[in-house]
C-alpha cells in the first residue's frame, strides 16, 4: 500500500516535472499597463484590451499551440518603475515582446529594447518612434525595436488639418482659414505641434499663436476668450480627454465655436457623454469601429475577446480597448510568421513585423486599419479616419466624415 502511494507520488512528481518542461515551451510576453496614475483614464481601457487579447490568444490555442506566458504590471506612468519592471523581466521572464503604454515608459525603454532586441509595442504614437534606422535628420536616436499600431501623432494631426482644408473648400468659405494649436506645455500635446503647423501652412492656413490650457481639467474660459478673439476657424486640441471636456464646456459658455479637431487620446465615448452638447461636432481621429458597430466581421472576435474579462458581454468597450486589441494581434501575427520560419525570438518578431504589407490581423477584419511596416519605415499606417461626434441626448453618434490618406513623405519619417 505504502509502496503504491510512493509510486503514485513519484508519478505525480514526474508528471509535474514534465509539465514544467512543457511550460518552458511558452512564449514569454511582458505587458506594462497604466491602470493607475495620470493617464489611467485612457490607459485602463487600452490595458484591458491588451490583457483580454492576450488571454484570448491563449484560449484559442496560442501561437501554433505554444501558449503565451504573459505578465501584466501596472507601472502608474512612472518611468523609473517601468525600467525596474523591465529589468525584472529581463532577469526572469525574458520576454520576446512587450506590450507597453505611453510616452513615459516607451521613451525610457527605447535604448534598452534596442540593445536587448525586444520588440516594444507602444500606445505612444510619437513620430520619432517611426524611424528604425535613425536616418531622418529629425530623429535624435533610432528606435529599431519600437512599433505601434495607428498613425503617429503628427500624421493624425496632419490628417485632421487636411480634412479641415477640404472642409473649408466644401463649405465654400472665403478667405484664408486660420488654424490654431491648443494644449498644455507638456511633451504629449507638444509632440505634433511643429509638424502639424508646418503642414497647415503648406495647405494655405494662417497658423496662429498656440494657446496653452492645462492638462488638468478646470475652468478654461480665459483660454476660450483668447480663442474667440483670435478668430481661429480650426482648433486642434492636443490634451487628453478630461481636460478637453472642461475646455469645450468653457468654450460653449463664452461662445467660442471654431471647428475643434481632437487628437487620438483626446476624445472618446466617455468624453462625448461627459461633455454633452458642448462636444457636438468635434472632429476626431477614430482608428477602430465603435462597440455599437456590428457590421465589420472582426467585431465578432472583439466581442469574444471582451468576454475574457466580462462573461456577460454587456460591458461597453471604447475605442481605446479596440486599439489595445489590434496592437496585441499584430504582435500575434508577427509571432505566427516567426514561428513558421523558426524560433520565436525578439529579432524574428521584428523581422516578421517588417514583412507586413497592408496587413489586417486574421479575425479582426474591419476593426484594425491595414498596416505596413518595413525595415526603414515604422509608420504602420498613415490613414486617418475622421469622425464627428454628436451627443444626441445620450444616444451618441460618431459619424464618419472622410478617410484621409496622409502622404508617406520620406522627409516626414521620424517627425
Amino acid at each position: 500500500m505504502r509502496k503504491s502511494i510512493m509510486l503514485g507520488s513519484l508519478l505525480v512528481a514526474s508528471l509535474a516535472f514534465a509539465g514544467s518542461l512543457f511550460a518552458a515551451d511558452k512564449i514569454p510576453v511582458g505587458h506594462l499597463a497604466c491602470y493607475t496614475g495620470p493617464t489611467s483614464d485612457v490607459g485602463g481601457p487600452f490595458g484591458n484590451g491588451v490583457a483580454d487579447a492576450l488571454g484570448y490568444i491563449n484560449k484559442t490555442g496560442g501561437i501554433n499551440g505554444k501558449l503565451l506566458d504573459y505578465d501584466t504590471v501596472d507601472y502608474s506612468y512612472n518611468a523609473p518603475r517601468a525600467v525596474a519592471t523591465y529589468k525584472k523581466w529581463m532577469s526572469g521572464l525574458k520576454p520576446v515582446a512587450i506590450q507597453g503604454w505611453g510616452t513615459a515608459d516607451t521613451e525610457a525603454l527605447v535604448k534598452f529594447v534596442a540593445k536587448d532586441k525586444v520588440p516594444y509595442f507602444s500606445a505612444s504614437y510619437s513620430g520619432h518612434l517611426t524611424d528604425p534606422t535613425g536616418k531622418s535628420p529629425r530623429t535624435k536616436a533610432p528606435a529599431p525595436y519600437n512599433f505601434f499600431y495607428g498613425p503617429s501623432y503628427s500624421d493624425t494631426c496632419r490628417g485632421l488639418v487636411q480634412w479641415a482644408a477640404n472642409d473649408w473648400k466644401a463649405k465654400g468659405s472665403k478667405g484664408q482659414p486660420k488654424f490654431i494649436h491648443m494644449g498644455a506645455n507638456h511633451p504629449y500635446p507638444n509632440a505634433p505641434k511643429a509638424a502639424c503647423a508646418a503642414y497647415a501652412e503648406e495647405l494655405g492656413f494662417k497658423v496662429l499663436n498656440p494657446i496653452v490650457y492645462s492638462l488638468k481639467p478646470g475652468d478654461a474660459k480665459a483660454q476660450c476668450l483668447t480663442l474667440k478673439d483670435s478668430g481661429a476657424n480650426y482648433a486642434y486640441l492636443g490634451n487628453t480627454a478630461g481636460s478637453n471636456i472642461s475646455l469645450l464646456n468653457s468654450c460653449r459658455t463664452v461662445g467660442a465655436n471654431p471647428q475643434f479637431l481632437a487628437n487620438v487620446w483626446g476624445w472618446d465615448e466617455n468624453s462625448i457623454q461627459a461633455a454633452k452638447e458642448a462636444g457636438d461636432g468635434v472632429a476626431v481621429f477614430v482608428g477602430a469601429p465603435s462597440w455599437k458597430d456590428t457590421e465589420p466581421a472582426g467585431m465578432k472576435t472583439v466581442r469574444e475577446i471582451s468576454k475574457m474579462s466580462d462573461s456577460t458581454g454587456k460591458t461597453y468597450r471604447n475605442l481605446h480597448y479596440m486599439r489595445g486589441v489590434c496592437s496585441t494581434f499584430y504582435m500575434k501575427e508577427a509571432m505566427l510568421i516567426a514561428d513558421k520560419k523558426g524560433a520565436i525570438t525578439g529579432e524574428a518578431i521584428k523581422a516578421a513585423m517588417e514583412t507586413m504589407v497592408n496587413k489586417v490581423p486574421t479575425g479582426l477584419e474591419g476593426v484594425c486599419t491595414p498596416s505596413t511596416w518595413t525595415n526603414e519605415d515604422h509608420r504602420g499606417t498613415t490613414s486617418v479616419g475622421v469622425y464627428t461626434s454628436l451627443y444626441n441626448g445620450g444616444d451618441f453618434q460618431l459619424t464618419k466624415q472622410a478617410t484621409i490618406e496622409v502622404p508617406r513623405r520620406p522627409e516626414w519619417l521620424g517627425w
Binding site: 484591458n48 501596472d74 518611468a79 509632440a191 475574457m308
Partner: protein, 353 residues
C-alpha cells in the same frame, strides 16, 4: 584579570569632545557600516539585475532625499520643489555631456554645482520668509522649473526630452547595471559621509540652531539669511547629483517626470525615514522604493485574472498614502527612531526598565 576587566564595557564613555562627535557612535556601528559597504561592493556579483536596479533606485533617490532632509529636517525650512531640482540636475548633466562632450564622470559633479547655484538663487526668498509663505515660494519654483523644462528646447530638448549617455570616463563605458551600481554606491558613500560630517561642523550646528529656535539662533550671532540660503544650496547640490545619476542610468530624461508628485514623494521618504536623521533618510528611501515592489510581488502571489490585478493596483497606490499616514500617527520620528528603539531594546535585554 585586569586586562579582561578593561575589555568589559558596560557602557560607552566619552571623555573628550572629539569622542562625542564621531560619525559612528560605537565601534560596532562603525564596523557594521564598513561591512555593509564591503557587502554592497561584492553584491553585484550575485544580485540579479532586478535587485541591482532597486539598489540603484534607492541610491539616487536616497542622495536627493538626504538633500531634502538637510533643508527640512535639519534647518527646519520647507521645500515643495525638490523634484524640480532633481530634474534640473538630470537635464544639466545630460546637456553638459551632449553639448560639450565632457565625459559623464565630470558632468555629474558639475551638474550638482549648477543645481546648487540655482538652489542658492531660488533659496533667496527663504532668507526672508518662513512657514507657509516659504512653502508657496518653493512651490512656485517647482512650477517655474517644470515649465522651463518643457520650453527650453536648447537645454532639455523640450517635449522630446533629452538623451543621456551612459556613464563613461575616457572611453570606458559603465554601460551595465553592475558597473553603474558602483558609481551610485560611490556617490552614496561620499554624499552620506559628507552629510553626516556637515552636521558635526559649525555650519551644521548653525542649521540645527536655526531649526530649533531661529530667534535664539540670531541672538547667538548666527546669520539667519546666510544659513537658510546655504541650506537650500546644499540641498540642491544633493538633488542635482541624485538627478544626474538618475539621468545617466535611465538614458533618457523627460520633462514629464519631475512633477510636484515626486516632490511630495521625497517629503514622504524623509518623513517615513525620520526628519533630521541621515541614516533615516536611507531607511525612508528604501521603504518608499521597495513598498510598491513588495506589494507587486504580493499581488503576484495572490494571482488571478486581470480584473483582480487591476483592483489590487489601486490598493498598492493607496498603501503608499496609507504608510505615510500611519507613520505620521504612530511613528512621527520615522524609521530611524524605531531603529534606535530596537537597538535600545536589545542593548538592555532582558533587563529593560
Amino acid at each position: 584579570m585586569a586586562s579582561a576587566h578593561s575589555r568589559m564595557n558596560c557602557g560607552e564613555f566619552r571623555t573628550t569632545y572629539q569622542q562625542d562627535t564621531t560619525i559612528f557612535p560605537t565601534p560596532l556601528a562603525r564596523r557594521t557600516a564598513l561591512f555593509s559597504v564591503l557587502f554592497l561592493m561584492v553584491a553585484p556579483y550575485f544580485l540579479g539585475p532586478y535587485y541591482l536596479n532597486l539598489g540603484i533606485q534607492i541610491g539616487y533617490y536616497g542622495i536627493a532625499a538626504l538633500g531634502l532632509n538637510i533643508v527640512v529636517g535639519f534647518t527646519g525650512q520647507i521645500s515643495l520643489g525638490h523634484a524640480a531640482f532633481f530634474g534640473f540636475g538630470a537635464f544639466a548633466s545630460a546637456w553638459l555631456n551632449n553639448t560639450t562632450g565632457l565625459p559623464v564622470f565630470f558632468c555629474i559633479p558639475l551638474a550638482g554645482a549648477m543645481t546648487m547655484a540655482l538652489g542658492l538663487i531660488v533659496g533667496i526668498p527663504a532668507g526672508r520668509i518662513k512657514g507657509l509663505y516659504l512653502a508657496i515660494a518653493t512651490l512656485a519654483s517647482q512650477y517655474i522649473l517644470e515649465d522651463f523644462f518643457s520650453r527650453a528646447e536648447w537645454f532639455t530638448g523640450g517635449s522630446y526630452g533629452a538623451m543621456a549617455n551612459p556613464f563613461s570616463i575616457f572611453g570606458f563605458e559603465f554601460n551595465n547595471d553592475q558597473l553603474y551600481f558602483y558609481v551610485v554606491l560611490f556617490y552614496v558613500v561620499v554624499m552620506f559621509l559628507f552629510g553626516t560630517n556637515l552636521m558635526r561642523s559649525r555650519d551644521g550646528r548653525a542649521f540645527v540652531a536655526v531649526r530649533d529656535h531661529y530667534l535664539s539662533a540670531e541672538i547667538m550671532g548666527i546669520n539667519l539669511t546666510k544659513y537658510r540660503i546655504l541650506s537650500f544650496g546644499i540641498s540642491s547640490l544633493y538633488a542635482g547629483i541624485g538627478g544626474a545619476l538618475f539621468a545617466h542610468y535611465l538614458g533618457f530624461v523627460s520633462a514629464e517626470g519631475f512633477t510636484i508628485g515626486l516632490s511630495i514623494q521625497f517629503l514622504g521618504m524623509i518623513i517615513i525615514g525620520g526628519l533630521g536623521s541621515v541614516m533615516g533618510t536611507m531607511f525612508g528611501t528604501a521603504f518608499m522604493v521597495l513598498l510598491p515592489e513588495v506589494m507587486e510581488a504580493g499581488i503576484g502571489l495572490v494571482g488571478g485574472g486581470s480584473g483582480l490585478i487591476q483592483a489590487l493596483a489601486y490598493i498598492r497606490e493607496m498603501a503608499i498614502g496609507m504608510a505615510i499616514i500611519l507613520f505620521l500617527i504612530f511613528e512621527p520620528d520615522g524609521l530611524a527612531h524605531r531603529w534606535r528603539m530596537i537597538k535600545a531594546y536589545w542593548k538592555l535585554y532582558p533587563f529593560s526598565y
